[in-house]
Every structure is written in C-alpha cells, then in structure tokens.
C-alpha cells in the first residue's frame, strides 16, 4: 500500500472513531497519537468489538496476535496510529 493508501486508511479509521467519540462526548481532537485506553477510556472488550467491525470492512485481521505482540513488548496502551499501521500492514500483505 502506498502513502496515499495509508492516508486514506487513516482517514477512514479516524472517521469511524470520530463518529463513535461524539457519542462519548469526547471533544478533544483525534489524531494518530490518541491512545485507546488512556485517552478514549476504552476497555479491552471495546477494542475487540471495534476489531470485529473493522474486519467486516478490511477482511481478516490477526487482531489477537497484534495485541499479544504489544503486550509482550510491555506496551500499556495502543494509539490510533498503531492500529492504522497494523491494518495497513495486513491489508498490504493481503493485496
């Protein structure tokens, strides 16, 4: 996937999150640096369900392996940019 593809993907994910964030009355701007747990107040189940919705759009995503890898790296949170990079990598591999 080229840079244009990445930017389109980023825009799509941000748009989805923007729609949802309005329901949570989250008013700060959403950026690639926004964190799901710390900033958005996600719980793990939120991420799992969001993953289910994204997979309907982008096809199979090895979501659990992605989260497990971050956990093994000692990461305490995940950013929107992490998620988009993960989807980009996967969609690029599947293309």
């Amino acid at each position: 996937m080229n840079d244009a593809g990445y930017l389109r993907l980023l825009a799509e994910v941000l748009e989805t999150l923007q729609d949802l964030a309005a329901d949570w009355e989250y008013s700060r701007p959403l950026t690639p640096a926004t964190t799901f747990f710390g900033d958005l107040g996600f719980e793990s189940l939120d991420l799992v369900v969001l993953g289910a919705a994204l997979q309907r759009r982008y096809g199979r995503l090895p979501f659990a392996e992605f989260l497990a890898t971050l956990g093994q790296q000692g990461r305490q949170d995940i950013t929107v940019g992490d998620l988009v990079a993960f989807i980009r990598q996967h969609v690029a591999q599947g293309a």
């Binding site: 329901d23 991420l47 799992v48 289910a52 979501f63 497990a68 971050l70």
Partner: protein, 535 residues
C-alpha cells in the same frame, strides 16, 4: 400497520418462578395471557446456554447445524486459542434474514449474535456483549443510532453493556449493592421497551422480536431470593428487601409485556419464549482438576500464578486459562466453564501429533466412561446425566467446531475450569444455574386457549414464527410446528408450508480473525463468574 407477529424473548425464564408470581398477583398480565393462550414447556438445546440456544430459536436448527456452541469458539478444529462468538459464527439464515428475504419488515432488539449486524429489511439493535461505546456500529441501518439517541430518555449506557455500571457484579456484588444491581436491570428493560415502542410506531414492522435478559442475570445472582422453595430461609430484613426488589423487577417486566402485546394488532400472534430454564445449584465441579486427578490433564509450571480479574484493561499480563496447561502432558481439557464441553488434544501447539485417530477414539471412549462414573464424593450421586460425543449431539455442517465430548450436568451442578481446592466443592449459598426446561406461551389466531400443550423443542419456535407470518418453513429446518398448539380446523385452513432450504454461510472459523484477546477473555470470564455462570 401494527405487527403481525411479536416474539418476546425472556432469557432464562422458568415456570418455577413465573407460575408462583402469576398466582401471587405479581404478574397479572402474564396470568391473563396464559389464560387466553397456550402454555408449554420448551426443551432447550445441548448445552442449555444463551448463545447456542438463542441461535437455535433464530435459525430453527440445532448447534451442529448453525455453528454456535458456547460464548467462545476455537479458532480452528485443532486450535488451542479461543475467540468470542459473533454474528459471523451463525452459519445459516435467521428468522430476521428469512423474513426480510420474503419482503417482511422486521424490528429486532437485544438478541445476542447480532453484531456485526446483518442487513435486514427494517431495524436491528444488537444485544449480547456489545459495549455501549460501540452501539452505533451495531445498529442497522446506518443512521438508526442517531434516531435512537434523539428519543427522550435514551441512555446507551443503560441499554447495553457498560462495564463501569456492571463493575459491581464483577467484584462480586457486595450485599449493599444488590438492590442497585436489580434496579439497573429494571431500568434496562424499560429502555428497551421505549426503543421498541418508538420503532414500532415508525417502522410498521411485520415481525417484532425483542429480548429481555434481566431475568437471566437476576436469577443467577438472586435465585435464593426468588425460589419459593427457599423462601423460609430469608430471615434478615436485607434478604427480604432483596426478595421484594426481585419481585418488583418481575412486576415491572409484566407491565412491559403488556405494553409490547398492546403494540400488536388484535389479530396478531404473540409468542413468549425462553432459551432455557433455571434452577438452584450448589455443587461446583472443578472439571480440569478432576481431569488432572484422572491423568488426563497436566498444569504448566506457571499454573500457580494467580488469575487477575482486574477490570482495568491495559496490557498487563493476564494469563489465559489455556496457557496454564502443559500441552505435552494433557490429553483432554475443558476450555470454558459455560459450554460443558471437553476437547481432546489431537495436535500440540507446535503442530506435533498428540493422538492418532485410533488413540483419539480409544481415549475419548475411556474418558466418556470415566465421566459417566464420576460421583459426588459426599453424596455418591452422579455428576452427569449424560456424556455424548459430538457426532451424537452436534451432527451437522459445523460439527468440527464442536467439543469432542459434551456433558449434561446433574441438577444442581456447576462447572469450574480453575484449579480448585478439590475436584468437587459445595458452595456456601445456593445460586441459580441453567436448566434444560424453558417456557413457551402464545396467544393469537388459531392457537388453543387456556391449555397446557405438550412440551416441544426450542428449534420448533422458528417454524411457529414463520407460519404465523404466513411464510414457508425451510425444508432443512430441524424444527416443525409442534402438534397440540393450534386448533385442527385452523391448520386445515392455514396449513404449514415447506419451502426451499435456507442458505448456509461459509464457516468463518479459519477465515475470520481471532476477535478475543487474552485480556478480553479474562474480562468476559470474570463477568460470567460474577453473574453466576461460572465458578
């Protein structure tokens, strides 16, 4: 146009509780409804558990034919990883998609296995485990969530899952929090009633289906406050207050049922059905500990680590139960406490063959015999009423997703998959657990009035609903319109029509991604435990 058919799901409803409440005047509408219609015991599926049972209501098929066996699903037939079941796991058409395909408009509210939402001719709001933050993604069609949000009193947090509100139960629901917990479910049912009324007004649906699931949750936690047989044990003012609040839940549910019924055309058919029944339980069978004692299971050296049930979900190391097993020395294991299933290890995580086909058959047969012989150490009573192979119980296109063996537990028994202090332990207090016999009540054109019909299978509900909509029943449905419910002359005038087989969906188990990570699994297990599903 008011709806032609109303299907009201009452998750876990049992006549053991409903009949006394009707007689005591707590549920006057239900009593009147029963007098005007037909009542029967409905036999649930194996296992009598919310996801497979509601999937059978929706599809008219048994679990091996629709593909849902538990809250969780192995990623593949040889996988040691679990993921959470979703709508994508229902491998065949549902009442909603069948009715939509025939041009009927539907409104479907709060049923499990409806996320991600399937396209329907009408509106669908998912239930089950969808968190409130994601509700927008679960509503169909797009834009429905904004319509709902404009309703007076709409509150997504109360309508669906909000872990913050449910934290009480996660932490074990302290005595002082029981009343608030029950109140939450009273409000939740009211919110669904409000959504239902709004959508019936605007959508003119032919079929309305709504699920009220507070019964299941309250009966798990509060069985001893509800069961008339245990009423004499409620001695303290607090116990009596909890019992009174439980009755209040049912009183207000009864008013909601009256409202739902009133939304329908006077000539409509109204069905009330539960996915399974309920009963008391006190015996905890630590099944994996029992397997260890009998040489079928070995724990990994890390198994002494405590399991974290902290609902604060970051990326802290929360070990999964399956990671506690030593796969090189384990022959069989129970991956979840809910599905009553056991898997044999045919391949190790490294891909090596653990059991040849002959060894698999021999080991499975020996394990089944040992399970049938399992006894409560204090009473000497069997812990199971039946042990079946997946070929016996789950025959169908999705059989290879099913456990190798499935248990029918003796009444009063719960399963735990944790390392218990012993293989069998008695709880200090009675809790509620699922029972195979649920409830069915129906009233409408052609249905007999004021009678108890013969019991029938849960898979017969879908044909009943389709028939009431004057739609053909697909020939591959396991269910049929059961005898004894309709007057004979009505069925002569309006016979049951059979139609072409419903469409199968491709199995997603190997194509779909794993949706359930270790932390989410731990959360779900904690929640199920808090609700009384598991120990």
């Amino acid at each position: 146009m008011p709806p032609q058919t109303v299907l009201i799901g009452l998750d876990g409803a049992t006549f053991t509780i409903l009949t006394p409440l009707m007689e005591q005047g707590v549920m006057p509408f239900l009593r009147q409804f029963q007098q005007q219609g037909v009542r029967a015991v409905v036999r649930s599926v194996t296992p009598p558990l919310t996801p497979p049972a509601w999937a059978s209501v929706m599809t008219g098929k048994l679990p091996g034919q629709h593909g849902v066996f538990d809250f969780f699903q192995r990623e593949g037939s040889e996988s040691h990883h679990l993921r959470f079941v979703t709508a994508e796991d229902v491998g065949t058409e549902t009442l909603w998609t069948l009715a939509s395909r025939h041009g009927r408009r539907v409104v479907v509210l709060n049923f499990p296995l409806t996320f991600p939402p399937p396209p329907v001719n009408g509106c669908l709001v998912p239930g089950g485990w969808v968190p409130w933050r994601q509700l927008r993604l679960g509503c169909y069609p797009p834009g429905l969530f904004d319509r709902l949000r404009a309703l007076p009193g709409f509150n997504a947090r109360e309508l669906v899952l909000d872990m913050a509100l449910e934290a009480r139960a996660l932490e074990g629901c302290a005595p002082e929090e029981y009343l608030a917990w029950i109140d939450l479910h009273i409000r939740r049912e009211q919110r669904w009633g409000e959504v239902l009324q709004a959508l019936v007004r605007t959508e003119a649906p032919d079929l309305v289906a709504v699920l009220f699931d507070g019964l299941d949750k309250i009966q798990h936690l509060c069985w001893r406050f509800l069961d008339p047989a245990l009423a004499s044990t409620l001695a303290t003012p607090w116990e009596q207050a909890v019992a009174a609040r439980c009755r209040d839940y049912f009183r207000q549910l009864d008013a909601l049922l009256a409202t739902c019924s009133a939304l329908a055309d006077p000539a409509a058919t109204v069905f009330l059905v539960s996915d399974h029944g309920f009963g008391p339980a006190r015996t905890v069978w630590y099944l994996n500990a029992w397997l260890e004692q009998h040489g079928y299971l070995a724990w990994a050296p890390t198994a002494d680590q405590p399991i974290t049930t902290d609902p604060q979900l970051g990326f802290r190391a929360i070990a999964r139960h399956l990671s506690y097993l030593d796969w090189h020395r384990t022959v069989a294991y129970a991956p979840t406490p809910t599905g009553h299933g056991l898997y044999l290890v045919r391949r190790r995580p490294d891909g090596g063959v653990a059991l040849t086909e002959d060894e698999y058959q021999r080991q499975r047969q020996a394990l089944a015999a040992a399970l049938r012989a399992a006894r409560h150490p204090a009473t000497g009573q069997p812990l199971v009423t039946a042990v079946a192979t997946r070929e016996e119980v789950f025959a169908g296109p999705y059989q290879d997703r099913a456990p190798d063996l499935v248990l029918s537990l003796a009444p009063g028994t719960l399963i735990s998959i944790l390392r218990g202090p012993a293989a069998v332990v008695e709880r200090a207090e009675v809790v509620g657990t699922h029972h195979p016999e649920g409830v069915f009540l129906a009233a409408g054109p052609g249905l007999r009035a004021g009678v108890q019909g013969p019991s029938f299978s849960l898979v017969d509900v879908a044909p009943l609903v389709l028939h009431s909509l004057d739609l053909p029943v697909p020939e591959d449905m396991a269910g049929r319109v059961p005898p004894g419910l309709y007057r004979a002359e009505f069925l002569r005038h309006r016979p049951v029509r059979r139609g072409p087989a419903s469409a199968l969906r491709p199995a997603p188990s190997t194509a779909g991604a794993r949706l359930f990570d270790a932390e989410a699994e731990a959360t779900m297990l904690a929640r199920l435990r808090a609700l009384g599903y598991i120990e």
